[in-house]
């Protein structure tokens, strides 16, 4: 185990990202500031419309219209300011320093290329030869649990969902990156396969001491695997900290509610807390706290004044002006 590295793998500062539509520009990410630690698994939890995938795209500098960065900076590995780099420079570090396992890996492999040709394409773009690196590919496949090499001669549509996901992970790791972003790595997979992939991810992270950023809507899954967890809502990070802190003593009510409203195998007969309402979308953005319109503990101040960000250690912080008072009212939400 590597001893505490202080330098964060990814450092996001004041990031604002929007999308263009017919009615103008809608800002989705609002002043996101977050440090992702090295050699750990960090989970970003959020529901649809929380901006988590937008954040991942911004970190990869994968910014295509109608997406648009308004302001902010992203520093990767302490020295690469990705947003101010040009495409050539970014291509230099993509895959090599910072890699990506896309959402819906089902559709992420070129349908008319065999698996080996996809490896070939990625290696060729670095001026590397497929055949002289064949051992590297074999090892990468072994890493993700393919013992025979038959898979290299198959087309993506001939693979099952779980196999495709493994292939994508192998391709993403072929250039030996230190930082990997995974966007919903288990969505659409069978529950049993999902568990295997999670174990695989955990093992790979340990073996290669990767800095891993996993983005998912499945908060239960994130708590099973991550060391740090950021909870996003309406384009802001409401809370960030180690999983133990969030699990046992959340600072923001949304974290608490989200975690406890998910039924688990042991929650039979228990009453689960409810989060009333729905996320209202980015068009009708509340003046104060983003979550105030649905928060059962919200006061008028919450609705009017944006809450301050409170940092409590190198990474951890939360946004909530009613901590710790809301904790006393927790019982209320179960009734």
């Amino acid at each position: 185990m590597v001893i505490m590295v202080t330098e964060p793998a990814i450092s996001v500062r004041g990031l604002r990202v929007g999308y263009i539509s017919d009615s103008g520009l809608t800002t989705v990410l609002r002043n996101v500031t977050i440090d992702i630690p090295s050699n750990k698994i960090t989970g970003i939890a959020g529901e649809s419309g929380s901006g988590k995938s937008t954040l991942a795209s911004a970190i990869m500098k994968f910014i295509n219209p109608p997406m648009l960065v308004e302001s902010g900076s992203i520093i990767v590995d302490g020295k690469y300011d990705v947003l101010s780099m040009d495409n050539e420079q970014v291509n230099e570090i993509r895959g090599k320093l910072i890699s990506f396992v896309p959402q819906a890996a089902q559709n992420s492999l070129n349908p008319i290329r065999k698996v080996k040709e996809i490896f070939f394409d990625v290696l060729k773009s670095r001026g590397m030869d497929y055949y002289s690196n064949i051992n590297v590919i074999y090892r990468a496949l072994e890493d993700v649990g393919f013992s025979d090499k038959q898979v290299l001669d198959m087309y993506p549509f001939q693979l099952s969902g779980g196999m495709r996901q493994r292939v994508v992970i192998a391709v993403s790791l072929i250039l030996d990156p230190r930082i990997v972003i995974m966007d919903e790595p288990t969505t659409g997979l069978d529950v049993v396969v999902q568990h295997e992939i999670l174990k695989l991810i955990k093992r790979l992270q340990k073996e290669k001491s990767l800095s891993l950023l996993i983005i998912s809507h499945d908060i239960a899954m994130l708590f099973q695997i991550s060391d740090y967890i950021a909870v996003m809502y309406g384009g802001q990070v409401l809370e960030y900290g180690s999983y133990e802190t969030l699990l046992e003593d959340a600072y923001n009510p949304y974290t608490y509610l989200l975690l406890h409203s998910v039924p688990t195998i042991t929650s039979r007969g228990k009453k689960l807390p409810r989060i009333p309402g729905d996320f209202e979308g980015f068009g009708r953005y509340p003046k104060g706290c983003v979550f105030s319109s649905r928060c059962p503990f919200a006061t008028d101040t919450c609705r009017e004044v944006p809450p301050e960000k409170v940092s409590y250690d190198q990474y951890g912080f939360y946004i909530c002006s009613r901590y710790p008072e809301w904790k006393k009212e927790v019982k209320k939400i179960y009734e």
Partner: protein, 330 residues
């Protein structure tokens, strides 16, 4: 509450434009794309031009008393023909039937395509579908225009030339196959969608499903097919006249092309005789094609384009006073 009640009442008693309906969003899509708006203006201009021709022409288009082969001048804006007719007057008069045949071919052809395509799609893998798809395939593989020419040639034996209605019928009867095939596959994929299954489970009749759900959901394609078939209609019409199979008693852009060809205008430098009708036919078809591109983008939002620079400018302008958290620039 009170406000929404009155709103509902308004909805009941006024003809209102539902801004989210499939039809409206289609019109909006056409209007928003610059290229299809150009097409719309172009079509409007041509229609106005041809409508004028119905009521007014500088000279009688059938009059043959002018000097022959005059180049364009102020007396004869587009010169005269080898038979001493005024080209501009002929151009004014000759557009209406061409556009009418085109649009009507589009309408009738699309109607047949809907009928055949949707029936085949709904009864997929039954004998009905096999027969309809078979007929569709035959019309797809053997071009309708070729069959029309063959028929026209045989009719020539008994000295029958094709009139407007026969041409319209023949073009509509042969121009539906492509639309029917695509509609069939669209219906097949729409039918698997859960909202159609849901209607089936709730007990909707097939007719209701077709008219309330399948057609509105495939409206962009149907509209695009209309223009596509209309282009076929116009092209087909010119071909029929080019081969001399059409009735030559009336003046239209097709007959103008036929006579100019017969007079070997292109070998004698009489460009004002054949270029104007050719250009007009081209422009009508072009306007249809341009409008079609706007529809394409409603059906397939991935084809959309964004002007990023404009928004960057806006951000720069708003950067100073955008701290209130609303963040909406409009």
């Amino acid at each position: 509450m009170g406000v929404s009640r009155t709103k509902q009442r308004e909805r009941r008693f006024r003809i209102n434009v539902d801004k989210q309906s499939a039809f409206y969003s289609l019109l909006q899509g056409i209007w928003e794309q610059r290229i299809s708006r150009v097409g719309l203006y172009l079509l409007l201009g041509i229609i106005v031009f041809c409508t004028i021709g119905v009521f007014y022409t500088p000279y009688n288009p059938n009059q043959t008393s002018f000097p022959r082969d005059l180049p364009p001048s102020f007396q004869h804006l587009l010169g005269t023909t080898d038979y001493g007719q005024d080209v501009f007057s002929q151009l004014l008069v000759g557009g209406f039937p061409v556009i009418a045949v085109g649009i009507l071919t589009g309408l009738i052809g699309t109607f047949i395509a809907i009928l055949v395509g949707i029936t085949a799609g709904l009864y997929a893998d039954t004998i009905v579908d096999r027969i309809l798809s078979g007929i569709t395939q035959i019309f797809l593989i053997i071009p309708g225009i070729l069959i029309i020419e063959l028929i026209g040639a045989y009719l020539g034996a008994i000295s029958i030339k094709l009139g407007y209605f026969v041409i319209l019928g023949a073009l509509s009867a042969t121009g539906w196959a492509w639309g029917a095939r695509v509609l069939r596959s669209l219906v097949l994929s729409t039918r698997r969608k859960e909202y159609i299954l849901s209607s089936e489970l709730i007990g909707e009749s097939k007719m209701n499903v077709i008219f309330q759900q399948i057609i509105p959901n495939n409206l962009p394609f149907i509209a695009s097919n209309f223009f596509f078939t209309a282009i076929y209609g116009i092209a087909g019409l010119t071909f029929i006249y080019y081969f001399g199979l059409g009735s030559l008693t009336q003046v239209n852009w097709g007959t103008m092309l036929y006579w100019s060809l017969g007079g070997e205008a292109y070998l004698r430098g009489l460009w004002w005789w054949y270029v104007p009708p050719g250009l007009m036919i081209g422009l009508v078809a072009l306007s249809f094609a341009l409008i079609n591109r706007g529809i394409d983008r409603v059906a397939n939002p991935k084809l959309r384009e964004w002007n990023i620079k404009k928004y960057y400018k806006q951000i720069k302008e708003n950067n100073g006073d955008n701290g209130d958290g609303t963040g909406n620039i409009s």
